[in-house]
């Protein structure tokens, strides 16, 4: 049995070994917040956090991340309250169709947890692994700057 710790909950799974983390999340556990928009590790829609770092779940073997701390989009709000990053994405109009949003939000969390005061270039670079076709990215930058301020209690 493989133990996966996802959003602070332990799942005991009988895996065969070739399952990607993405497959486990979406198809086995029904956590469909994590999306995928390509088959080539280019779109970033499958991004989850492993030990706080943004990684692509479509090219991560589930058995490779046994005992690691896995965070998906389902795990960052607490109770009824949205995480300030989620709130900022809504407030700044950074979400249109929403398909790419979970990936962006998690990468943002990884960025701000490590660097509470990113400049615009650092923000842009941290998102270089994500595709958004609807929005053109600018409102996402606004949302991240807004979330950073709120997290710094400014």
């Amino acid at each position: 049995m493989t133990k996966l710790k996802i959003n602070n909950r332990i799942y005991d799974l009988a895996l065969k070994g070739h399952e990607t983390l993405l497959e486990v999340l979406r198809d086995i556990l029904g956590l469909t917040g994590t999306k995928t928009a390509c088959d080539e590790a280019e779109c970033g829609a499958c991004t989850v956090l492993i030990n706080g770092k943004a990684i692509l779940s479509c090219i991560t073997l589930a058995m490779d991340v046994e005992n690691d701390d896995i965070t998906t989009i389902e795990g960052i709000s607490s109770g009824d309250d949205l995480h300030p990053i989620q709130q900022a994405f809504l407030d700044k109009g950074a979400v249109q169709c929403g398909f790419c949003a979970p990936g962006f939000i998690l990468s943002t969390k990884a960025l701000l947890d490590e660097n509470p005061r990113p400049d615009l270039d650092e923000i842009k670079k941290s998102l270089d692994g994500h595709l958004c076709r609807c929005g053109g990215y600018l409102k996402i930058f606004d949302a991240i700057e807004d979330a950073a301020k709120k997290l710094r209690n400014e």
Partner: protein
Amino acid sequence: MPLKNYEMNKNNKKEFLDPVGKSVPRIDGRGLVTGQTKYVFDLKLSGMLVGKMLRSPHPHAKIISIDTKKAEKLPGVKAIITAKDTHGVKFGSNEFFFPQTADQQALEGDKVRYIGDELGAVAAVDEETADKALKLIDVKYEILPAVFDAVEAMKPGAPLIHEARNNIALILPTNFGNVERALKESDYVREDTFYLPSAAHTCMEPHVCVGQFEEFSDKVTLHVSTQAPFKIRETLAKCLKMDLNNVRVIKLAVGGGFGGKLEMLPMDFAACLLSKKAGGFPVKICYSRKEEFCFSRRKHPMIYKLKSGVKKDGTLMAISGEVIADGGGYCSYGPTVLAAAMMRIFMVYKITNFRVAGYRVYTNNPISGAIRGFGGVQSGFAIESHMDLLAQGIGMDPVEFRLKNITGPNMTVTNKMVITSNGLRECIEKATEACDWKNKHGKQKKIKRGLGIGIAADVMGSKMYKSHESAGSILKIEEDGSIHFLTGAADTGQGSNTALSQIAAQELGVSYGRIKITSADTAITPFDTGSFASRVTFISGNATKLAAADAKRQILEIIATEKNIPIESLDIKAEEIVNTSDNSVLMNFDQAVELCYSFNYGSQIIGRGSYNPKTTPVDFRTGEGNVSASYGFEAQIAKVEVNTDTGEVKVLKMWDAHDIGKAINPQSVKGQIEGSLFMGIGYTLWENLKFEEGRVVNANFANYRLPRSVSTCPVESILIETNDPQGPFGAKGMGEAALLPTAAAIANAVYDAVGVRIKELPITPEKILTALKNKNNKE
């Protein structure tokens, strides 16, 4: 514990009163940021099977035989369908005005016309089995010669793809005034040819559907990622030979459409028919990213030839030319794409002498269809580059040249389009002011920087594909005062659910927080043509306004009776029932609803609205007709820097001044402008869907490059509100327009920076270096 719907309760939040014009939060936003909102991509139904399409590996071939026996015997295969299981109905997305373009069958039985053409489908217990089954289906083809170039396809002797002579599906001729005489009278005449490549929509959510057939009731339900559920219902019903009320198409959240999800694809039909054959189990068909690139829809590659004349004083005398659009194997929305590509110029420039012929040509390439801009991106690049070249020819500033020739408000133009509100002049003036055009254009060659302008117009409430293109809305006021808003309009991320709810709340006089919305379910919501041609705010918005006005009237009728006050003196404002004759407040909205549902009245409040824009039919033989009830306008300016070592063009900033009538939700409008603009930059600099012998060669994100965060530039959006006389609260809409002039603005800016003119997209570093070398050799 389920998360509460944040702020979407009926509290009287001040910012939710009078919501039109405010950037209120998305009505459906919470589920998107928590990942809880379901897309059809996520949909799992009990007993669901996996469906896959059987596709032709050949670009052009006769189907001799299809033997499915071996595949049927494979354990886990639940159903296989081919053309013989269908009624053989032909359809085409533009068939209403162009009957000859009903050229496609849901599953082809006689011939295949592009690599990927669908001739069958399989439903199995899992993907692996479905893939194996496809390989076991034995198809015998007689390979036919194929043609991949539109110009070659038009020549006599080219392989005939359909019955159309010279493979020309459609000719759109236009001929106004006297072009020959006007050219003779011109002081400067020039000819240019522009080459526009194909492109892909690259919606983040691929095409995906789940079809389910309910045998005992003979009903079919299709969950599908779509912009136009009613269009799919119409075509599905036609192909299945079923009544509309037995075909239900449901849209969930959609991960982008951009024109690629506007019609029924064979996969939608196949999912339903497979389900029927499999005994009613739901069948899900989901495209991989490769299938998205290769087998969905693509942008029409075009060759755009223009020959125009101008007078020394800048008067545009005549435009003539030819547009050749490579349509691929079938017509799809090709006719209206071509028409839109050609007719746009009349919205923007005053021109009396105009003769341009458009050809929509069949080739054995994948199908060209609608994509954001509907032909206007291709024509935008050609026309706006050509205009700059004409201005150059007479030594006139490109802005001055445009200002001399643009259309204005309240005019009927040469091809009988009736322009009412028109903020184009103000757009140009504001954009040029914002970028300091006077002092910067033509003055930064030393640092290899340049400014370029492009202008455009777009239809906002058009009718070009069906007998009616109406929208319908229903507002149900529930007993507790909460409001259930039903609309056929499809929100694909552009925010129509939100904007329409704002319109409903504003018209009804209540808080935006009261509204809950169900949209785009053909069994529950009224008809809506679909989310395309930037029509939703105008057309569906007007339907919504009418529905809200109707609901308001029903409530006020009861209050008028109860209070014995004439209904003309009553209104609902900011959640209060007001006697307008003395401004007294009679009661609040909750009390009013309570009264409506009280013992003596017991009247259900259900407001309904239907709106069909007032236009005139377009005569596609001449190009005449007022196609839209409203037109939107914009001016866009690009600032670029060219690296003459590497040829790289860097866009430093974009200015976009846009006449949107009235911004219902300014933040959403700007989000649409930015998204559309970056799609335009992508097409200008990097995107290029390449084909070799009918096969897509760059069918992945590694080789089809999209704009990313690191390649963005600041965008200054200037919203100009001209208050359209027919728009809901003056609104026109926003969806496509911001990518129409982008390519030309950048090409014109490149010329300003380094003096080279690129007439073929994308503007690659290679083209820049070659052009610079040629320029240096000449000098």
